[in-house]
């Protein structure tokens, strides 16, 4: 009894501590995150928004900066490069998304059926190898794989299989119609293992008895997948669609590494245009670049919000 009393006394002391010190202590724990997050994420995004309402050109050092309201946005709506840039990003997204979601789902279902624990681990580890290589290094590797000179893909097509000659061999990254599919394949290669892990985590929650019961009832594998597995993977699928939609619309490293600033290539999207405007073209019209950056972000947010709404109404 005495022990219980001291416990509750201590508990009230702890309550007092938590009431008084909770604010200070807990925000102290959040401080490192907040400093970096506010300083290098939130503030810059807002600062870019502010810039987009001015006529700030970085290299016009002597000219005063004016507040121009929506002038940059009005200009952007008349700028064919902005529209083309958004359309190109959307096109790449449409190519990129299905393979980024469905191939890992199928692979996950296959890996999940592997009963031998050692083999299952080996498959998982191999699939995860690309996710241990940073994105830009993946792009460098695939730039070489697709290369006209040293690429093994064209070596196989030309020298080994003889399907093409050096004259008409496909220019995977130089041909405007081929570059997006080529990049999409590269992205699938990169994302396969990582996304498979998400689906495997979902599959692990499905009890095996469900499958056994279905099999006893005579359901074939396709029906089992469609009626038991797929509905349970849907939440994961929707989250991945939203996340990867965002990734694909705002791709920039791939385009800079593979396509550079060649406007004839579809890789010259709104992100590359923004970079070009802000750090390269003319007198660095950073206010206009800021507007382009925010237009791209808003276009993306609208679709993301639409996706959320679409998926929410279905649940």
């Amino acid at each position: 009894m005495a022990r219980v009393a001291t416990r509750s006394q201590r508990a009230t002391a702890a309550d007092a501590w938590s009431l008084a010190g909770r604010l200070v202590t807990s925000w102290a724990f959040l401080l490192p995150t907040l400093i970096f997050f506010l300083g290098w994420q939130l503030y810059p995004v807002i600062r870019v928004l502010w810039l987009s309402f001015t006529d700030y050109h970085y290299l016009r050092t002597d000219a005063p900066v004016h507040w121009v309201w929506f002038q940059n946005y009005a200009d952007a709506f008349r700028d064919p490069l902005v529209w083309r840039g958004l359309l190109r990003a959307a096109l790449f997204t449409a190519l990129f998304l299905p393979g980024m979601i469905f191939i890992p789902m199928v692979v996950a279902v296959l890996v999940d059926r592997v009963r031998n624990p050692k083999l299952a681990t080996i498959y998982r580890v191999i699939l995860l190898i690309p996710s241990m290589i940073p994105g830009p290094l993946i792009f460098v590797l695939w730039k070489w794989l697709y290369s006209y000179n040293i690429g093994p893909i064209n070596y196989l097509l030309v020298d080994v299989l003889g399907l093409f000659t050096l004259r008409n061999a496909p220019r995977w990254l130089g041909d405007p119609t081929l570059v997006f599919p080529s990049l999409a394949v590269m992205e699938w290669w990169w994302g396969l293992g990582y996304h498979t892990m998400f689906f495997l985590a979902g599959l692990a929650t499905i009890p095996r008895e469900l499958y056994d019961a279905a099999r006893v009832d005579g359901a074939n594998e396709w029906r089992i997948f469609w009626h038991i597995t797929f509905p349970r993977l849907q939440p994961i699928l929707l989250v991945l669609v939203v996340l990867r939609f965002g990734t694909a619309m705002a791709v920039i490293d791939e385009y800079l590494i593979m396509g550079g600033f060649n406007r004839a290539l579809p890789t010259y999207t709104w992100t590359v245009y923004m970079w070009d405007l802000g750090f390269q073209l003319g007198d660095w019209n950073q206010s206009y670049a800021a507007a382009v950056g925010w237009i791209g972000a808003l276009a993306m947010l609208i679709v993301v919000a639409g996706l959320f709404w679409l998926f929410r109404s279905r649940d």
Partner: protein
């Protein structure tokens, strides 16, 4: 959308543990053959490009020019040659190491502290923090913020410095890292925190003595995620730095396009292999904890 992971019991192990009536060997079903064939194909598709670049890095120069995939003569000197004859290369490697180490340390500490505060300290105002972090993951922050980040770095006199990259780098995977740690901390029952508090532990000792050993798999995941992000970062490095000596390895590799001498393909390939090896070795070592960390809650989306 939380998907809790409950690893189910392994069916074959259960069967094996029943000693009665060993099952007759049935022929391997077709579906299993097809399944493994498909998985082996995918595995090969993943491994072969890496094998190709590895072979390229040990090809003799004439073999490299003929493009033959399996060389007639091997030449293992390219690694040493590249390190000696690409003048900035040792510097670039060092830059990458410095920036990556600092980023991983900062982000991991920040994420552990924040994840802990968000779950176990019932921080007032945590909904706002969480909301902002979530929003930043659905916003193309990396692209849209770039112009202002460049401006910040210019005002802080950090443009064209290696260590200045650490600040924006630390935020690249910060939101994700906080989320991973939050997911892991949520697997620790609140009663444990309450019990420790009643026993007089303050917030700091509770984290350090009680919680940290329980979240170490999550920390491995956070370290790996941030290592991969920082080690290969390209966009900020190419925007915020100009001189070859202050740049990091990925920027150097991305601009390499073959050539003579130190820039011959096998030598660049050797640099490439040096660039991807640390990550793969770290993964090989930490693979077990990484997988466990993913299962414990890092994949909760």
């Amino acid at each position: 959308m939380a998907t809790h992971v409950k690893p189910r019991e392994d069916a074959p192990r259960l069967e094996r543990s029943t000693p009665a009536a060993p099952r007759a060997r049935r022929p391997v079903p077709w579906s299993a053959i097809v399944r493994h064939a498909v998985l082996i194909l995918f595995s090969l598709a993943i491994i072969l490009p890496l094998v190709w670049v590895l072979i390229l890095s040990v090809k003799s120069l004439p073999d490299a020019y003929t493009n033959r995939i399996w060389p007639q003569h091997f030449d293992f000197s390219h690694y040493g040659y590249a390190l000696q004859h690409i003048p900035t290369l040792p510097r670039n490697i060092l830059n990458s190491v410095i920036v990556t180490t600092a980023t991983v340390v900062i982000t991991t500490i920040a994420a552990v502290l924040a994840g802990y505060a968000l779950v176990h300290l019932s921080t007032p105002g945590r909904a706002v923090v969480l909301g902002l972090l979530v929003a930043s993951m659905f916003f193309p922050t990396r692209v849209t913020a770039l112009i202002a980040i460049w401006e910040i770095q210019k005002n802080l006199d950090l443009l064209n410095t290696t260590w200045g990259l650490i600040f924006p780098y630390a935020t690249l995977s910060l939101a994700l890292s906080v989320f991973i740690m939050r997911g892991i901390f949520e697997t620790i029952p609140r009663e444990l925190a309450d019990a420790a508090r009643i026993d007089g532990a303050n917030a700091w000792t509770m984290l350090w003595r009680v919680m940290l050993p329980l979240v170490r798999n999550g920390i491995v995941v956070v370290i790996i995620v941030n290592f991969v992000t920082a080690w290969g970062e390209y966009l900020l490095a190419t925007t915020l730095t100009n001189d070859q000596e202050v740049r990091t390895l990925p920027v150097v590799l991305a601009s390499a396009s073959g050539g003579m001498g130190a820039w011959a393909w096998p030598r660049i390939a050797a640099v490439y292999v040096m660039a991807i090896t640390p990550g793969l070795v770290a993964f090989a070592i930490a693979q077990r904890w990484y997988m466990r960390g993913l299962q414990e809650g890092a994949l909760k989306t």
